[in-house]
Symmetry: C2
Subunit: 473 residues, 2 copies
Amino acid sequence: MLEINALPNEEKKLTVSEYKGKSLTLLTDKGISVGDTIKISTSDNEFIAILMPRYESADENHIVVKLKSGYNIGIELSKIQFITKVDQRSYQNVSTNDSLLQIRRGGAQHDDWKKEPPPRIALISTGGTIASRIDYRTGGVHAALSASDLYASIPELVKHASIDPEVLLNEYSENLKPEHWTLIANKVSEKVRSGKYHGIIISHGTDTMHYTASALSFALQNLPIPVVLVGAQRSSDRPSSDAALNLIGATIFSVKSNYSGVFVAMHASSSDDVIACHIGTRVRKNHTSRRDAFESIDMMPVALVKGESVEMQPPQQRYVKLQERNNSGHNNFIVKSNFDSRVILLKYYPGFDPDLLSHSIMRSTYRAIILEGTGLGHVSRECIPKIQKAVESGMMVFMTSQCIWGRVRMTVYDTGRDLLDIGVIPLSDTLPETAIVKAMWVIANSNSTESAKKMMQENIANEMTTVTPIMDK
Amino acid sequence: MLEINALPNEEKKLTVSEYKGKSLTLLTDKGISVGDTIKISTSDNEFIAILMPRYESADENHIVVKLKSGYNIGIELSKIQFITKVDQRSYQNVSTNDSLLQIRRGGAQHDDWKKEPPPRIALISTGGTIASRIDYRTGGVHAALSASDLYASIPELVKHASIDPEVLLNEYSENLKPEHWTLIANKVSEKVRSGKYHGIIISHGTDTMHYTASALSFALQNLPIPVVLVGAQRSSDRPSSDAALNLIGATIFSVKSNYSGVFVAMHASSSDDVIACHIGTRVRKNHTSRRDAFESIDMMPVALVKGESVEMQPPQQRYVKLQERNNSGHNNFIVKSNFDSRVILLKYYPGFDPDLLSHSIMRSTYRAIILEGTGLGHVSRECIPKIQKAVESGMMVFMTSQCIWGRVRMTVYDTGRDLLDIGVIPLSDTLPETAIVKAMWVIANSNSTESAKKMMQENIANEMTTVTPIMDK
């Protein structure tokens, strides 16, 4: 039996009727509905493709189709010389409904699912490019789509799981704050405790997706199932969008991974074929625009999704500890979803003003400073008395490295030793971004400065590796 | 005729007599001087190696030798079963002097040099690991060696150039400030204007070497010869030191490069064979400890030094403009070596306190803010009114990306457009580290805020590429 997902009411409008004016007339004339396979000729090209849904503000002069390659393209009506419905091959069991969502709701099914119910995945949408569309007037991108729009845009998903979408937020991720991490963590917790899901996917803007992944890694401990964050570098109604493949990859990993925990799933390379799954505390957005912007730091990704198979990386490359999936229970699952944002990150550079470190506004506003020092964890000697003053006033001062790769080692040079002497705490290979999030979480979840300092030096969610990594870079 | 370098007086003490106590006795007994090729047996091993000089604070129980592989190793006297002088092969034309420096001064010469004088290179030492030694008591590393010590430690250099060393500073680079950039730029200028040199090498700590490289790139315009910064990730008296190969690579590049400008020369990979030469404004220290920590960002290195040959990268990978070397004159050479450090870098993260942007201490202390935003150049919408306030008060606000790779593009998303609207200036693919240095230089070298803003948006030293790079990552 196929699971029937109860979709929110506002999703029902996603039908072919969203095409308007000229494009609606053409499609109606030809008896073509969203989800149909169609053949189109233009002066340049001939395509076999699936008609995709369009969104509210779309103009009436284009239709959007998905090519076999997974790419969506927009085609100008005036360029279409020929268009016809080829078949409904992708949706054999379709009723006469013309809505893709109704199709899905009504009974699209993968062969395997005839034998047993499909794995059920919760999809929590928070916004971002993956849930956005291009404004064809300005060329800009707006947050707009809901989780279920997204699901509707990627018909292939139905093959792998039954997905329950829910819109939690609709924000570009640069606007997300620690309060949102709490909200997301609590929502994930609710889904986990329902016991209904094989995995949870969170669609998220890419700008701060690695910060949220870290936050959830600390907040959600002993997860019984995988929680996978996924985003897109190019919006889902754009020809070169990576949204579909990323979401499919996240779904396959959520269904098939033997490990639970918090992961980020994104393109592994610029070719549109492999999805890399990264540990939530050890991943960074390392490119402004490339589809493979997310990289595991100082290690390989945990898994690669190739086609429908999940290749776990060889164990020797995983010096981290991963927890086994436990579909049958969530007894050990612990949620500590509070964060205290009284943490400041200061990146050191030549000419950095040491007075900033001991300024009274620092002491009144923040409980901890994360230093992004140079090299193995250094700042200029002029900073040392000022840091000492900050430490003496009760602030916690932690050291990370702006090199990104490698680990802070403060016993090697005089500067490092002097900093250790005055109470600066080295965070080994904790990434600066992860260190900020961890400090916010630790402050909210500890009883004293001493216990907070201790927690910062302990490995909680693979953010700080205690053995020398095989992959040094 | 071989150039005779006038070395500072303090260098003369670098003789075998620096070995003391037991090690001095042993070496004197065997008639072995620094620079001699010797054969040593221990219980584990047998080496053919060159005896290296030792430094003031060294204990008397070790000698240091350089293996054929280029590695220096320390050998404990008590483990030596057999030691003998094999020959003075490396220094055929040596007088009876026992000092390596005297050897060099007295007449070591490369075959080619019999025909014409060797290329002359100025070596300016500023300190750092490359000019440091291990404290065998604590295991830590101290800044200690002078440029000429360094030269003495790497006998191979004599093959490639006649090197004039000068000690300008003796600082780990985390202690260097914009005032030091001015000092270094002025010293380089003096050497360039002397007309005596084929190239200039600056030995430098690696922590902020890329900041100094940027600073010199802006300060020294229309350089007629290459200026090459070089450092080491492991100190030169350590077995695994990269100092020798880096300095040899920097020397070969300085001698053979057809291009002038400011470059950084460091290991290209973790194997000890190829040196990469990076453009001064486009390089970053991307690992805390690896020897190949320095990487060109968004491009390939300009050149690779393999053995004694310099391979310039194919032109299609150089979308930057490099200036041809001009050994014959320095008429167009311009020095603008002042920097104004009233610039603050603020890296954005979720939970970042927007009030910091508009705080009065910001406005009284700084003239410009470099934002290290997320993704294509974003901060949260809560920051926007605060940034507006900063801009209205006369501060310049520039945007770079914490992604490191890629370029800021603020027209794509609402957040970016809003930031542009209030006067935030995007810096395309200028690296955050380079942007700080450039802003400090621009403020010191412009007449008005308007001209400063204009200069920040112009490409001055390949820091901002105007065409799409071939190598996207």
